[in-house]
Every structure is written in C-alpha cells, then in structure tokens.
C-alpha cells in the first residue's frame, strides 16, 4: 500500500513539476515570436491556463505526501537518525516547511492568475509563481534524495 502511494505521489509530483516549469518559464521569458527551438516551444504556453491544474496537482501531491510521511516517520527516519544522516533530515524538514507555506499560497496564486484585480501588479503573479516553482523543485529533489539515500535493495 505504502509503496503504491509513494509511486502515485511521485507520478503526480512529476506532472506538477512539468506544469509549473512550463508556466514559470513562460512567465519569466514569454515567447514573442513563433517558437523554433525546443526551449522556445517549452515556454510558448498560455500561462494562465496552467493555474487550475497546478493548484489541483499541488494539493493532491501534498495530500499524498502527507500520508506517505506517516510511513516515513515510522520506517525510514529512525534508521536515518541511527545512521547519523542529520543533514538529509534537515533538508527534509525544510521541504516540509516549504510545502506548508506553498499550500497556503495556493489561493493567492490562483487569484493572481484567474481573478486579478485591475490594479494588481504583474510582478506579484510572477513572484508567487516563482516561489511555488522553487518549492516544487526543492520538494521534488529532496524527496528523491531521501528516497534514494538507503540505496538499492536496502
């Protein structure tokens, strides 16, 4: 059960990573002309249309992560503590904190893309998207570090 949950958690996280990377790049460097390169096509997406998907994917990933975290605390973390992997556990704690802050930012993020006020500066939207992008990438990478830290077959 927990392995299945972890795999689904990882798969949803990959979808989220792709969606938010598309949106972030399109926000930072919007493609003006007709894209000719892979990079050009990657950022030539309608950014606002990604907002709903990102909110749903983030919420689902966080929920699944919150469930998997229970198994991690019982089965994995004690071993890491005994092995003295304190920096890895510290990185994981930072991931937890970032995830929580990002979760609470989702309403503001959604509003900034889908229901902005007339006077809202564009930089707010860019900044919120950037913060969420940093959180998602951090969580993804650190999640993998922790997942792989015991090595194959351990």
């Amino acid at each position: 059960m927990r392995t299945a949950l972890l795999i689904v958690h990882g798969l949803v996280a990959v979808a989220l990573l792709g969606a938010i990377s598309h949106q972030a790049l399109a926000t930072w460097a919007p493609s003006r002309a007709r894209p000719n390169s892979f990079f050009g096509r990657f950022r030539a997406v309608p950014s606002a249309s990604y907002a709903n998907a990102i909110v749903v994917l983030y919420a689902v990933t966080a929920l699944l992560g919150g469930i998997v975290y229970l198994y991690f605390r019982i089965d994995i973390r004690p071993d890491l503590e005994r092995a003295g992997e304190w920096p890895a556990l510290g990185l994981f704690d930072i991931k937890e904190h970032f995830i929580a802050i990002g979760l609470a930012l989702l309403p503001a993020y959604w509003v900034s893309w889908r229901r902005p006020r007339a006077g809202d500066p564009a930089r707010t939207r860019v900044a919120l998207t950037s913060i969420l992008t940093i959180i998602v990438w951090w969580a993804f990478l650190i999640g993998h570090v922790l997942n792989d830290i015991r090595g194959f077959g351990a």
């Binding site: 975290y69 605390r73 904190h97 979760l103 609470a104 930012l105 509003v111 229901r115």
Partner: protein, 120 residues
C-alpha cells in the same frame, strides 16, 4: 463570497499563514501531536521527554508538522475572514507585494530554524 472578498481572503490567508507557521515552528505550537506508530493524536504539543525517557521517541515517534500546519491554518483562517469582511477600499490600500515578500522571508526563517540539524 464575491470575487473581491475572496481576493482579500486569499491574500491575507497566505501572508498570515507564513508568519504564523514560523511562529508555530519557533515556539513549537502544534495544535496536536501525531503518534503514527500508535495511531494516536493528542491535542497540543507533546514531547516524549515530558513523560518519560527521550528513548521513547524511538518506540513511539511523534510528529509535529501536521500540528504546526493546523495551528497556522487556523490562525490564518481568522485573518482571512477578517480581511474578507473589511471594506474593499481598505484592503486595496495594502501593498500587494506583501503576499510574496512575507512568505519568501518565512521560507528563509524556516531554513534558519532548521540549521541546527546541520550542526549535529
């Protein structure tokens, strides 16, 4: 809830949550403590050293992240509702960039509060 009220709620909620989460983390104010191996949830913050040997943490590890998040979410909900009830002309005068500046600083604060892990 109208679009404008939700706008005010969303921006106040995200900002307040970030501040309250750092406070909850720093002061260890978990709304509840989870013991996953026992399937137990106790209200408030509990440490194994409060009632027995610290070694109990290995037998019945406790989790605070859910509690810290709940503490911040509950507090932020109050701020969000108050902001949604305020007249729009008041909320429009708030600097809109607070909603990302505050969370960004909160993230830095979380990193700072986690630094002891790297000195072990």
């Amino acid at each position: 809830m109208t679009s404008s009220r939700f706008h005010s709620f969303a921006f106040a909620y995200g900002t307040a949550f970030a501040v309250l989460y750092v406070i909850a983390l720093k002061l260890d104010l978990a709304l509840f403590t989870v013991y996953p191996s026992l399937g137990l949830i106790l209200p408030g913050t509990h440490h194994s050293r409060d009632v027995g040997s610290p070694a109990l943490a290995f037998l019945a590890p406790e989790m605070y992240w859910y509690g810290w998040t709940a503490t911040a979410a509950l507090g932020a909900l109050v701020f969000g509702i108050v902001a949604a009830l305020l007249p729009e002309r008041w909320t429009q005068r708030v600097w809109p960039d607070w909603q990302w500046v505050v969370p960004a600083f909160a993230m830095i604060a979380c990193v700072y509060l986690t630094l002891p892990w790297f000195r072990l």
